[in-house]
Amino acid sequence: MTRKQRRMTIIGGSLGVLALAAALVLNALRDSIVFFSTPTMVAEKHVQPGKRFRLGGLVQPGSLQRGDNLAVTFEVADGGAKLPVAYKGILPDLFREGQGVVAEGALDGNGVFKADTVLAKHDETYMPKDVADALKKQGHWKDDYGAKDSNKNSDGMKPAATTAQGNSQGAVR
């Protein structure tokens, strides 16, 4: 083998691996991306039942109902629309009525959002960034959401974040 041939072998191999990686990434992008929506966006876009997405908004005060065997239902609102959510399992430590929440799952045939993961992730303003941005954009942002935040610079290294998993495979599907 000449030096040139060797170099071509290596370049060819590299291109092969890169092509493989690109193919894998494109394939993975096709069906494993999860979009973020608010109840208003869900109402406007007529999301298909069974299509997975992340729902973000505020837990409607007074809507939380606990059923048997850890089943819970609550409503997620963003000022414009409301969406009922059903979940089975333990809600995260930081889940509260009137506070921000992000749930992952899909709509069922009756228009109820079946969540398999509920994230209550927030900084000390009790507001997930996704939710805050969406509310701000829709003009429903109230300054008092941030009232608890007396000092902007004081976030912890890893602010409290908890996750509840509806099933053990929720994270690794």
């Binding site: 394939n27 993975a28 973020f36 902007k152 610079n153 912890g156 053990s168």
Partner: protein, 660 residues
């Protein structure tokens, strides 16, 4: 007083770093040894002053001096001493101070123990270190000064985020930073080599131990962080593909590639340009990680402070260093001579494949981390890229890599014999196949992927063992000869075997945990019994207790198996009054490498409590694997050949001549 002293020390450190940035470079131009030696003394003095500054901040936290904003916001007088200390880096300002302290520490180590480096190379390396340091000192002093006072000092602090009040935080960030920042040394060496336009095998020999040190710490840091998330966040997940985690995984992948390519360069004087590029990329990814974590651009489990001026400042640092170093590389790389011919099938070829797969896997992670950000900025919609994406893209690449791992160390340099190596690996392959068959039969045809993946893990481990058996002549030669040979083998050979076996171990743990993890979620009243994976867990009762700065509710479980009592587990829920937030403290019971895991939910009005119980088979292998890898790294580091340039000056100097 202490705060002002700490602040002043930091300003002095900046001044020293600025001197260190320019004087040695001018000295190298003028070939003036005195000017070049300025680098050494300024680097050591800089370490002294940053160290003093860091100690000042620790002292302020320990003394609960709430007139300092940083202490007020992150501490509380009732907090246990250990968390007062670890709370220093549990916030933005303090962790940046830790970052530059470690940077200065590495610079100081090069200055103190780099006596065997050519004078101009050392001057350049330390100057580049000082460029990085100056940028970050400015960043801290302008945007994130931890020593700011409050005009009207409050009586009590706001306490540290409860999730961070854990021993994991004492260890995880310093380890991670030792890894992240440690790669700055190989970066500085690469830039110095480009400036000097000269690079040889000796250069790789100096760079490798520093890369290895950084890599060991990063490996342990990532594993530590993963275990911390596993027991602290309360639902038993150990990896989230969260941008902040990816930010530490990317330098690890690139750093692993760098370790291997530096090996080719050291042994065969080939892949020079590529090694330089990897050194630059690895540290660039560390800087990118710092940016992602510190600027708050990402929505993540670890969401951060959201002050845009900081983000922009770090972005500028990022562009300056990545852009500058890549331009320098583009301009100078062609002047570095290529050397060392090798056939595609050879040890070098295998290491090139390793580098290819690692860097491409790294690129995939980079894409998955930045794509959602880019889409949010460009197309204005939000989405998340999670585990499903990485399972379909990152995992196949890593499987390919694992398949190739056992072949690499057995191929000869220059020209290898793939068929011969395959024959020698036959036993390992058979071991893998037997395990696949056994696991398959035992699970009675469940998912086909799990047995295959476990077989692959076994193949990797068996491959590492085979290599050692061959080299020592075990079973072939008399036992005493084997023993003698084992002692005579280079430590780096043992290191390779341990590190590679660690990969297989971690792989088996990951597959077992994700496939056969069993879960039980229910509300339980006292005296209820939960049955999980053959264990009986009886809830004895609930009790309340007062901790130093929290109240906790403890649930006591009696664990038994087949009627035979095993242990008592006490998961708890802590309520931190100062911040009004609560944490879940999971209880873990280790049985071999498997664990039972209990975390608590809410108490219902009827006095029952929601519990989540997991049985996680072989879960500990996930972290034993990285520990094995790090142990392999330490073995490699103790290899006599690497002590040249490693922090062992007395012996290193003697060995320099025969080694050259």
């Amino acid at each position: 007083m202490i705060a002002e002293a700490g602040h002043y020390a930091l300003v002095l450190a900046l001044a020293l770093a600025l001197i260190q940035s320019f004087v040695p470079v001018i000295g190298a131009r003028l070939r003036d040894p005195a000017l070049m030696n300025v680098a050494r003394s300024t680097a050591l003095a800089q370490l002294l002053f940053v160290g003093a500054s860091f100690i000042a901040l620790v002292t302020l936290h320990v003394n609960s001096d709430f007139s300092v904003a940083n202490v007020y916001e992150n501490s509380h007088s009732m907090k246990p001493l250990i968390y007062k200390i670890t709370g220093v880096w549990g916030n933005h300002e303090g962790s940046m101070l830790l970052w530059v302290s470690i940077l200065a520490l590495f610079g100081g180590l090069v200055a103190a123990f780099g006596n065997n480096l050519p004078l101009s190379l050392r001057a350049h390396v330390l100057a580049v270190q000082a460029w990085i340091a100056s940028a970050f000192y400015l960043f801290i002093l302008i945007t994130s000064n931890p020593f700011l006072r409050i005009v009207n000092p409050p009586i009590e602090g706001r306490d540290l985020n409860p999730v961070l009040q854990d021993i994991g935080l004492a260890v995880h960030p310093p380890m991670l930073y030792l890894g992240y920042v440690g790669f700055s040394i190989s970066f500085s060496f690469a830039i110095a080599a480009l400036i000097e336009g000269r690079i040889d095998a000796a250069w790789a020999r100096w760079v490798r131990p520093w890369t290895l040190v950084a890599w060991i710490f990063l490996t342990l840091g990532i594993a530590m962080g993963s275990y911390w998330a596993y027991y602290e966040l309360g639902w038993g997940g150990w990896w989230f593909w969260d941008p902040v985690e990816n930010a530490s995984l990317m330098p690890w992948l690139a750093g692993t590639a760098l370790l291997h390519s530096a090996l080719v360069m050291e042994k065969r004087n080939a892949l020079k340009v590529w090694t330089i590029l990897l050194s630059i990329l690895t540290f660039s990814l560390s800087l990118l990680g710092t940016f992602l974590v510190r600027s708050g651009v990402i929505t993540s489990v670890h969401a951060f402070a959201n002050d845009p001026t900081r983000g922009v400042f770090i972005l500028l640092i990022l562009c300056l260093f990545i852009g500058g170093s890549l331009s320098l590389f583009a301009g100078r790389a062609t002047s570095l001579k290529q050397g060392g011919l090798f056939a595609p099938i050879s040890r070098e070829g295998a290491l090139v494949l390793n580098n290819l797969l690692l860097t491409v896997a790294c690129a995939v992670v980079l894409f998955g981390t930045l794509y959602p950000l880019a889409m949010e900025v460009l197309a204005d919609f939000k989405m998340s890229v999670g585990a499903p994406f990485y399972n379909l893209s990152f995992v196949p690449l890593f499987v390919l890599l694992l398949l190739a791992v056992p072949f690499g160390p057995m191929l000869a340099w220059k020209r290898g014999d793939l068929l011969g190596v395959t024959q020698r690996l036959l036993a390992a392959g058979v071991a893998g196949l037997v395990v696949i068959a056994l696991v398959w039969a035992w699970t009675r045809g469940g998912s086909a992927l799990a047995p295959l993946a476990i077989g692959l893990g076994v193949f990797v481990i068996a491959g590492a063992v085979t290599d050692m058996v061959e080299r020592t002549g075990l079973f072939r030669l008399p036992f005493t000869t084997t023993l003698h040979r084992a002692r005579g083998l280079p430590r780096s050979a043992w290191g390779t075997a341990f590190a590679h076996a660690g990969l297989g171990v971690a792989m088996i743990g990951i597959v077992c945990e994700t496939t056969w993890n069993s879960e039980y979620i229910a509300t339980m009243k006292p005296n209820d019994v939960a049955q999980v994976a053959g264990y009986d867990l009886k809830l004895d009762g609930l009790l309340e207790r007062q901790g130093p700065n929290y109240r906790e509710m403890i649930a006591q479980f009696n664990v038994s198996r087949g009627g035979e009592p095993l242990s008592v587990m006490t998961p708890s829920k802590r309520n931190f009054t100062t911040r009004g937030s609560s944490t879940t403290e999971a209880a873990l019971l280790t049985r071999g490498a498997s664990q039972l895991y209990i975390s608590l939910g809410d108490v219902t009005p009827e006095g029952a409590i929601a519990v989540r119980i997991y049985h996680k088979p072989l879960v500990l292998l996930i972290w034993w694997g990285p520990v094995l890898m790090a142990f392999g790294g330490v073995l490699s580091l103790s290899d006599r050949r690497l002590r040249v340039g490693a922090p062992k000056p007395a012996r290193a100097r003697q060995r320099l001549q025969p080694a050259e």
